[in-house]
Symmetry: C2
Subunit: 334 residues, 2 copies
């Protein structure tokens, strides 16, 4: 509970001098510097953050707004954000569960004067000009934005390309009836993936079947499909646990950790030179072939059989599944 004034009194100097010592100003005699340090540690003095940032108008803190915290996807995003922030000596002010635009505004408003910049993962509903109001308060970086915001850096996922590669893979394996279990229609990721899915079908001259386009909710249970036939499955995001499924899930891999890391890098850049132009980075989404579409090594029947169980259990958080009915008449009973 000691303030800078207490230290000054005890060290018999002015508070200005104490401040100089604490901030490592060179214009202090070695003698008093030592004395002040001793007194400060003796009183166990801790500077008051709010007071400090009131004068400096810097908080050394980054705000983070997420729609949710559930599951390995967000977990890794935060870890990436934290890692990058920490390497810049920045703390994290976290706030989640922002479904609507005015939630975002409210949360950002509560952060006014407490952060130097903000990372926002906008919710499905999209936040049209709401983000514009935020942007003129502090530097802003968007994570996977539904639509770009003027003068605002962003980093997003190559959803279209990822889904495209996934469906092409299934087609190459000989599948013809290919379904997509997607996210909500308004969701930016979902839209990109749907576009990739459709493009791949188009390129292969396969018909587009509305009944095979499911608008899920990115949850595990959302991945359930009522289907009694064997299917090949490919997921999206490659969260850690899917490789332990049986069979290991073939997925589109996205480096979620890096997603968060990059956002912070862009944010720091924007903070350091506010005049610099906004940058838009896109994280690659690459196909990782494991065994849920049939084993590469030839024991395809067993793998295909097993893949049915994976599907029945549902997918994973933030997971898109492109499914295909086997047209090779491989049928088994587990």
């Amino acid at each position: 509970v000691a303030t800078i004034r207490d230290v000054a009194r005890a060290a018999e100097v002015s508070i200005a001098t104490v401040s100089r010592v604490l901030n490592g100003s060179p214009k202090v005699s070695e003698d008093t510097r030592r004395r002040v340090w001793e007194v400060a540690t003796g009183l166990d003095y801790w500077p008051h953050g709010a007071a400090r940032s009131l004068t400096t108008s810097r908080t050394h803190t980054l705000g983070v707004l997420l729609p949710d915290l559930f599951g390995e996807f967000f977990s890794e995003v935060i870890r990436g954000i934290d890692s990058a922030a920490r390497s810049h000596g920045l703390q994290l002010l976290l706030s989640s569960s922002h479904a609507e635009a005015r939630d975002v505004i409210a949360a950002a408003g509560a952060m006014r004067g407490r952060i130097d910049g903000l990372v926002v993962m906008a919710p499905d509903g999209g936040t049209p000009d709401a983000l514009e109001r935020v942007r003129q308060r502090f530097p802003l970086v968007l994570l996977n934005p539904r639509t770009p915001v003027e003068g605002c850096s962003s980093v997003s996922i190559a959803n279209l390309e990822g889904a495209h590669a996934a469906v092409r893979h299934l087609i190459a394996l000989g599948h013809q009836r290919i379904a997509i279990v997607n996210g909500p229609a308004g969701n930016a990721d979902a839209q990109g993936r749907l576009a990739g899915y459709r493009r791949a079908l188009r390129e292969a001259h396969l018909p587009r079947t509305p009944e095979l386009e499911f608008a899920g909710d990115f949850t595990e249970s959302g991945g359930y499909l009522e289907c009694a036939r064997d299917v090949a499955v490919v997921g999206f995001d490659d969260i850690a646990s899917v490789r332990y499924l049986d069979p290991p899930l073939t997925t589109v891999h996205v480096d979620t950790f890096e997603l968060g890391e990059r956002a912070v890098r862009l944010l720091v850049a924007a903070m350091e030179s506010p005049s610099s132009r906004a940058q838009h980075e896109v994280l690659p989404a690459t196909l990782v072939v494991r065994r849920s579409c049939g084993a590469p090594a030839g024991d395809g029947d067993a793998a295909t059989l097993a893949s049915r169980r994976v599907l029945a259990r549902g997918g994973d958080q933030k997971t898109m599944q492109a499914t295909a009915g086997s047209n090779n008449a491989r049928r088994h009973q587990s």
Copy 2:
């Protein structure tokens, strides 16, 4: 960038009146109240958090110190913390990667003046009197403390009881050689689990075999065991993904979400009445029997066989595995 003064000027009142309106003071005429509100929203005025908390000495923010952010365990803890905090209108200042005592001190110090209370999950090394220095700054709650701190609420996991139940289960199934893949020796969780493990052995009059007590690191790879025999496996923590393993993992279940939730509840209680006595809650750890120790329904052989694969892939974050060589001479080749 509008301050309270700008609003006051534009509304032709004093800043005191603006402050009153913003904070919902009743002693304001309905007329001026409306006018101030209009001007404030017109100027898109956002109160400055640091300034506000400098005068009120309240921040509406909780600090959270964790040793790490990796995996489903911490993910759920944070989610629980966030959920409870949000229900109290509190924000979260997050900081992770605190291995040593002085890391904790440093992180807590950086939070001085920015938080109203602190939740700390102390690292393995333990933080003897370091936490004492923290405690006299703001209300403090410990998550799974290695050793209790005077006047400091805590919530921990019934590690001993959980491990005890797990080992008893294995013994009841007829296993005699039971190993434990644990965490670091200094870790509080690890110590409790080891005690429970040993007690169960003792009660069953089974010999204690030092070679079967492995000090792992709570990571997935740490769960690897070089063993060519079939084993039954039981994990600890019951993170979401283990039920999707094949066979589904029998584990000691801990409500990790609630762990975080409770910590915040205790913290809020301590914040509201600083004079109240410290409370120590213990979260139950109950055995959930799935199939990794043999199927309850009788197809034990197949399940035991499959369980070997689970072990070979390693356990999970924050997972203890009690493993047992089958003494029933059930041997299979996968």
